[in-house]
């Protein structure tokens, strides 16, 4: 329910003033998601996989994670997509740990690291903040997720 609090807080004039926001007096309220934009989105790539191939070949660090109780863009969807990249495995599938519990499972491919986050919904850091922070830490370091 937290986006409801955001809808109130970010429409407060004193909050907008502190943020230097809405200085031009936008003719609509601040909202978490713009339905107008969403309904009129008329340029979308059918697949991002070609871009992944470009980024991987450039040597960029690429990590993909998935909260495994999201049914909107679920883990199965992500796995089907990644498998199309046909990447070689560097570190085979294993459970990763955070604070002595399984945080999820992961596999390190040549050029891409994939990790699931156990029990997390669509907004992974909202539902599993500790696990998400561990994921972020490993990503920044460019190291595989902890095995214990």
């Amino acid at each position: 329910c937290t986006e409801k609090y955001a809808e109130i807080y970010f429409n407060r004039p004193d909050v907008q003033k502190a943020l230097h926001a809405n200085i031009t007096k936008i003719p609509y309220r601040w909202t978490a998601c713009s339905e107008l934009l969403n309904r009129n989105w008329n340029d979308t790539d059918v697949s991002i996989l070609p871009i992944y191939r470009e980024l991987i070949s450039s040597g960029m660090r690429v990590w993909v994670f998935s909260g495994d109780v999201d049914s909107v863009v679920p883990v199965t969807a992500t796995r089907y997509s990644i498998s199309q990249l046909k990447l070689r495995t560097k570190v085979p599938w294993y459970p990763w740990y955070v604070k002595n519990q399984v945080g999820g499972w992961t596999e390190v491919y040549e050029g891409l690291t994939f990790a699931t986050v156990r029990g997390a919904g669509h907004e992974v850091p909202l539902f599993k903040p500790r696990a998400a922070l561990q994921l972020f830490k490993s990503f920044l370091k460019g190291e595989p997720l902890p095995k214990s």
Binding site: T2, Y9, N22, L36, A77
Partner: protein, 265 residues
């Protein structure tokens, strides 16, 4: 008194947000003009790292939708240093904030999201991936001019959901920019979560997830698989009816974004 879109960093400093607890890090927010002719300006909120910000990378967070705000979700619900209390009267600390490890730049993109705006109203009716990537690159180039001490820092881009489009697309724009520029942007990596990636495999994987997690019946699963063309942008009426049936009659009253959590009523 509020900064103008192209003021310097000092004008963007946030002294304190209403109801904010005392913190040790600096914050900045404001507008960066990305298209002068159309009057398009993107809004950002930078929360610097809580420990040794000068030695930490810059991480840009984008939310998806399309059309959703990284300040609403990334900053206020997920990785930012504050949570809004349930009266919306103030902020409480998030002890798992990612700004313990990095400087976090929440970007509202494209124009029309959150506080980001355009003076050309048609921009709101014909937007999409391409303009979002180009405007976001323009934002980053200009933002780094406003905050030049970040120019030499490692940069990462992260996000979730439809940002599965924005994040790789912006990374690709940066690679193209770097190929032509004598001052390349130090982009080191990207990370995306529950990311929209490929129409066909996303849709096939979603329906398969529903079935394998016992959210839909065998009958509905087989009908969806046999009826829908998952590679299409717009599905047939017959397929749409099956989706509606699955969601209305079989899912029940759940939070589709977290199937085992109580729904927000």
């Amino acid at each position: 008194g509020g900064s103008q879109p192209d003021d310097g960093a000092a004008a963007d400093r946030i002294w304190a947000l209403p109801g904010q607890p005392e913190v040790s890090f600096e914050q900045f927010s404001g507008y960066v003009t990305v298209n002068r002719a159309a009057g398009r300006a993107l809004f950002y909120w930078l929360t610097e790292a809580s420990i040794q910000p000068l030695s930490k990378p810059l991480v840009i967070w984008l939310n998806g939708g399309p059309g959703c705000s990284s300040i609403a979700y990334g900053a206020s619900e997920e990785i930012g240093p504050f949570r809004i209390n349930n009266k919306a009267s103030g902020l409480v600390p998030n002890k798992f904030s990612w700004n313990s490890l990095a400087n976090l730049l929440f970007l509202e993109t494209p124009a029309g999201v959150g506080f980001s705006y355009t003076n050309r109203s048609s921009d709101l009716l014909n937007t999409g991936d391409r303009r979002t990537a180009k405007d976001s690159l323009e934002f980053l180039v200009r933002w780094l001019n406003r905050f030049p001490w970040y120019k030499t820092r490692d940069i990462f881009i992260t996000g979730e959901s439809y940002a599965g489009h924005y994040v790789p697309q912006l990374a690709r724009e940066i690679l193209a920019y770097n190929a032509k520029s004598s001052h390349p942007i130090h982009l080191k990596g990207i990370m995306v979560g529950n990311a929209v990636t490929d129409n066909y495999y996303d849709n096939l994987g979603t329906v398969t997830y529903w079935w394998s997690h016992a959210m839909i019946s065998d009958k509905t699963y087989h009908e969806l698989i046999n009826t829908c063309d998952f590679s299409r942008q717009k599905e047939s009426n017959e397929c749409e009816s099956l989706y509606t049936y699955a969601m209305d009659k079989e899912f029940g009253n759940i939070d589709q974004y977290n199937i085992y959590a109580p729904p927000c009523n």
